[in-house]
């Protein structure tokens, strides 16, 4: 009944950051994801940051059980989910308490008032009710009886008992959709499609969504709604993607580009499992997945598949990468193509399984016995994963080598809009199998391409090329077992040169330069958005600062040393204790300074910004 709407201002803002927070059971991830999709379809640029408790369900109502989802929507290109939300939706006292500190000054709090009873307050560790004790002064607090309203809304939908309150996340979502002037339709459609099998639930969710929307429309509590106009994204088809999704798609695309069947062999582990889940759903694309008995078997199967002529891929997180170490070394010796994905999480040991960290880089480079070099690549963002996977496959196939690709928990689970590439124009990265003798009528399995130093790939089933590979040192060219001292040294050097030579086949590092800058900020992996945004902000404050981001961590781009030496100061922000900084120091003898954060969370933009401002102060 739009005509009954009280007159409201509609404020136009260029961006807004909203955090949905509630108990793990409150469906906040779903609410956040739906809001994100609605905004994406509306045409905003966006970035998200989901955060949930470690895998076990914590007791309801406690701080440990709080789950949240932050989404940043904007009318121009943004990079991060934002440090501090402008609006906090808090479904219970614990959610309020856990997130209040992050809220922007004078921010808005939308609370589910019904949850602020004594029991919940106590569980959250409040001794007084924050809605009453004046501790929220300075914020705009909007109290909404969400449970009462939801109960009322769903009463004729056939839903009963515990199910009733399950819809309250849709109530909150509806309210936010109204507040930020999104269209309702995409969400309504999504509800229809998703809950098609259970009509009562479908109707309850729809009713709650509309009730939330209408509550905004009809309540005087809300002084104005906001409008965030569509961003000027590149024209084309966009999807809102998480990193695990784009890794999966990138693998499918890589296999297509390589004209090879894809076999993904993995053992479930947070936060990598979703890659397995995604790919398991792609049987109609011919993708085969294999859930192995453990990580060692998983990589063994992938390596066997590669020997058999497939694109063998395995994926895991830190603890699993540790277990795969011995087999990676075998892959180095047998010189077979293989992709190993490591979605890093907080360590050491089981550590913080649902949190993000970048502390596996040195293990990726050095965590194998003997001299076992292999290429290492890193993904910078969900959207970047697609191309990185194709690049990794290209290198693995062209150079007959295992390749490690580093992702992390942040990339894996956060979402961003992504411009679909033209999948019909994928590069051809296929490498023909050897089909006949390659040396005087004979097949020499370790005969190398003069330029790439790659050996030939002859797959079982090919007549006349029968040969044996294995983990013992190989004689040059013939591939026979050899214990000769000189041959061993030769082969160690050949394997080293082969990997080092890839530097000639990857793009030079591109510097986001700044006239007169004598500080270079170098990043890798998921710090990309925070560093880019931090640099942008610092420049806004007059700092002169250059920036470079590395996709290739082994070998480094050819020009990297030269680039580093151009700057008096080199800062390397990392979510670890200085891995890349250490590599740059050892390799180039430059005094790269690490900036470290190990809190299971990404850098905030202002942290980078402040550091740059501090380092560039005259």
């Amino acid at each position: 009944m739009p005509d009954e709407t009280p007159t409201l201002e509609q404020e136009s803002v260029d961006h807004v950051r909203i955090r949905f927070a509630g108990d793990s059971g409150d469906g906040m991830q779903l609410a956040g994801a739906r809001f994100t999709d609605a905004s994406a379809i509306f045409g905003n640029d966006l970035a998200t940051l989901p955060s949930y408790p470690a895998e076990i369900r914590a007791p309801a109502g406690t701080i440990a059980g709080v789950s949240s989802f932050q989404v940043h929507i904007a009318d121009s290109d943004i990079l991060t989910p934002g440090d501090n939300p402008d609006v906090l939706v808090a479904m219970n006292p614990a959610a309020l308490r856990a997130n209040l500190a992050d809220l922007a000054p004078a921010g808005t709090i939308v609370v589910n008032r019904d949850a602020f009873d004594e029991r919940n307050l106590e569980r959250a560790g409040y001794t007084t009710n924050p809605l009453r004790d004046g501790s929220l002064r300075g914020y705009t607090v909007i109290e909404v009886p969400m449970e009462e309203m939801t109960r009322e809304a769903v009463k004729d939908t056939g839903i009963t008992g515990r199910g009733v309150l399950r819809s309250k996340n849709f109530f909150a979502l509806g309210l936010m959709i109204w507040m930020f002037s999104r269209p309702l339709e995409p969400t309504l459609e999504w509800i229809k499609a998703t809950f098609a099998k259970d009509e009562a639930v479908m109707r309850a969710n729809e009713a709650a969504l509309r009730a939330g929307y209408n509550f905004g429309l009809n309540t005087e509590q809300f002084r104005h709604t906001y409008q965030v106009r569509p961003a000027k994204l590149k024209p084309g088809v966009h999807a809102n993607v998480t990193g695990n999704q784009t890794v999966a798609w990138g693998l499918v695309a890589a296999a297509q580009a390589a004209r090879l069947p894809l076999l993904y062999s993995s053992y479930p582990i947070t936060p990598a499992s979703d890659i397995l889940h995604e790919l398991s759903r792609y049987q109609r694309l011919g993708v085969r997945t294999f859930q192995a008995e453990d990580e060692i078997a998983a990589i063994g199967v992938a390596l066997g598949a590669s020997f058999g002529g497939n694109l063998g891929v395995t994926g895991t997180s830190g603890p699993g990468l540790a277990l795969k170490s011995e087999t990676m070394s075998l892959a180095v010796m047998t010189e077979l193509p293989l992709l190993i994905i490591d979605v890093q999480r907080g360590g050491p040991s089981t550590g913080l399984p649902t949190k993000t960290e970048q502390a596996d880089l040195l293990m990726a480079l050095y965590g194998r016995h003997g001299e076992a070099p292999l290429p290492v690549l890193a993904i910078a963002s969900p959207g970047d994963a697609f191309g990185t996977m194709i690049e990794a496959a290209r290198i693995a196939l062209k150079y007959m080598t295992p390749v490690i690709v580093l992702s992390d928990g942040y990339i894996a689970n956060s979402a961003e809009p992504w411009l679909l590439p033209n999948l019909d124009a994928l590069p051809d990265i296929s490498v023909p199998f050897v089909t006949g003798p390659n040396s005087d009528g004979k097949f020499m399995p370790y005969l190398r391409d003069a330029q790439t130093l790659a050996r030939g790939w002859a797959v079982p089933g090919t007549p006349g090329l029968e040969h044996r590979v294995g983990g013992l040192e190989k004689e040059d060219v013939t591939g026979a077992v050899s214990y000769t001292p000189a041959n061993h040294e030769k082969m160690v050097l050949l394997r080293e040169r082969k990997i080092a030579g890839i530097a000639d086949d990857i793009p030079a590092v591109v510097v986001d330069a700044d006239e007169g800058a004598d500080l270079l900020v170098v990043g890798w992996g998921s710090t990309y958005p925070a560093i880019s945004a931090g640099v942008r902000q610092a420049r806004g404050r007059g700092a002169k600062v250059a920036r470079a981001h590395l996709r290739h961590l082994n070998p480094f781009p050819r020009n990297l040393g030269e680039v580093l030496r151009r700057y008096r100061q080199v800062l390397v922000p990392e979510l670890n204790r200085g891995h890349l900084a250490r590599l740059l120091r050892a390799e180039f003898l430059v005094d790269a300074i690490g900036m470290s954060k190990v809190q299971g969370m990404p850098f905030k933009t202002f942290e980078i910004e402040e550091k740059i401002v501090e380092m560039t102060r005259p």
Binding site: D37, A40, I41, G43, W190, P230, L233, K234, P235, G236, V237, H238, A239, Q245, W249, V252, A253, Q256, P261, L263, Q283, R284, L285, G286, R288, F290, E293, D294, I296, A297, I299, G300, V301, A302, L303, G304, A305, S306, F307, G308, N310, G312, T327, L330, L420, L423, V459, P460, G461, P463, G464, L465, E466, H467, R468, V469, G470, G471, L472, V481
Partner: protein, 339 residues
């Protein structure tokens, strides 16, 4: 061309150009010869055969075969072999492993290979010792065995590999011995014919570190007294004059004098019994082996092949239309267009 029909292989066709480097007298030689003879007889093309091994004396096997081969790392051959079988179901994939490789470090992969039932054939060369590392006890070494790592005797009860495989849902389980080449060849043939994972324990003499471990099955008289040759559909009898037999009761399998109980009371061996209990009971007759020991095929049942099931899922998903399109898939997740 009728070329393929007239194609004939000899044992030599399956010998590689590598010098065979086991100790003189090692049982591995005999098994190698049996395998080469078998492959020539069955007429498999070299390029269709892959031998995958772990680490151990026995695991050098692939080097001596003129087929494709993968000398893996310790204990992991079943995983590598599974990958090969998944990548190319048309191959004949054989895993060569030792008692340490298969049952110590690799135990988990073996039992999973059995329950999954991919089409791989696991040949466990059981010499009840670590040969390659020069003589430590293995999980099949007898209790109290004195070795380099157990100078006052190994502790713990050894595995009975046949029992273990049966407990792990294996569809094909057999046992043979290096010395008996015709028997080995027959068991290899049966494993090959079985569509599914096969587990074959081969008693193998390590004359350097554990000589005569299987003397009770090889000495002329001992052999007659102790070898129980399992034969499908036949009562289980053995002994120089087939005068002894096996009955199955509530307390397991028992050795009896045929004259005493009568031929009808004997257990009639059924390789294809869906329930593995009888095969398991037979496997308990000897541990080590000491005394009368069943040899041959314990179990051979049909179960759907992992590769086939997977292929069927893929075909079903494609609905006969061949691979769908990645773009289409991405679009289904919800996209929007900016002009």
């Amino acid at each position: 061309m009728t070329d393929t029909e007239t194609k004939r292989y000899t044992r030599a066709d399956f010998q590689s150009d590598q010098e065979v480097r086991w100790c003189p007298g090692c049982g591995d030689y005999t098994i190698l010869a049996s395998m080469q003879t078998f492959l020539a007889e069955v007429g498999l093309d070299r390029e269709k055969v892959v031998f995958v091994s772990g680490i151990g004396c026995s695991s050098r096997f692939p080097y001596y075969m003129s087929t494709y081969g993968f000398h893996g790392i310790h204990g992991r051959a079943p995983a590598i072999a599974s990958g090969i079988a998944l990548a190319n179901p048309g191959l004949s994939v054989w895993v060569i492993t030792g008692d340490g490789d298969a049952l110590s470090i690799g135990g988990n992969h073996i039992i999973h290979a059995m329950r999954r039932n991919l089409n791989i054939k696991v040949l466990l060369f059981n010499n009840q010792i670590y040969g390659l590392t020069k003589g430590q006890f293995s999980p099949t070494s007898e209790f109290g065995k004195r070795t380099k790592s157990s100078p006052s005797g190994a502790l713990g009860r050894p595995f009975n590999p046949v029992s273990l495989a049966l407990g792990a849902e294996a569809t094909f389980v057999a046992r043979t011995i290096d010395m008996d080449r015709p028997h080995t060849i027959e068991v290899l043939r049966r494993a090959y014919q079985h569509r599914g994972a096969a587990f074959i324990e081969i008693y193998q003499n390590c004359n350097v570190f554990n000589d005569k471990a299987f003397a009770e099955l090889t000495g002329k008289e001992d052999r007659l007294a102790n070898r129980i040759n399992l034969q499908h559909g036949k009562p289980v009898v053995f002994g120089p004059n087939q005068e002894r037999g096996v009955v199955l009761g509530a307390s397991g399998a028992r050795i009896v004098d045929v004259a005493e109980v009568g031929l009808e009371a004997l257990h009639v061996h059924d390789e294809h019994a869906p329930d593995p209990s009888a095969a398991f009971a037979l496997s308990r007759l000897s541990h080590g082996p000491h005394g009368p020991t069943p040899m041959g095929v314990f179990r051979d049942v049909q179960r759907s092949l992992y590769e086939d099931d997977l292929q069927r899922q893929v075909s079903d998903a494609q609905g006969g239309r061949g691979p769908a399109d990645l773009t289409e898939l991405i679009r289904q997740t919800g996209t929007w267009t900016i002009n």
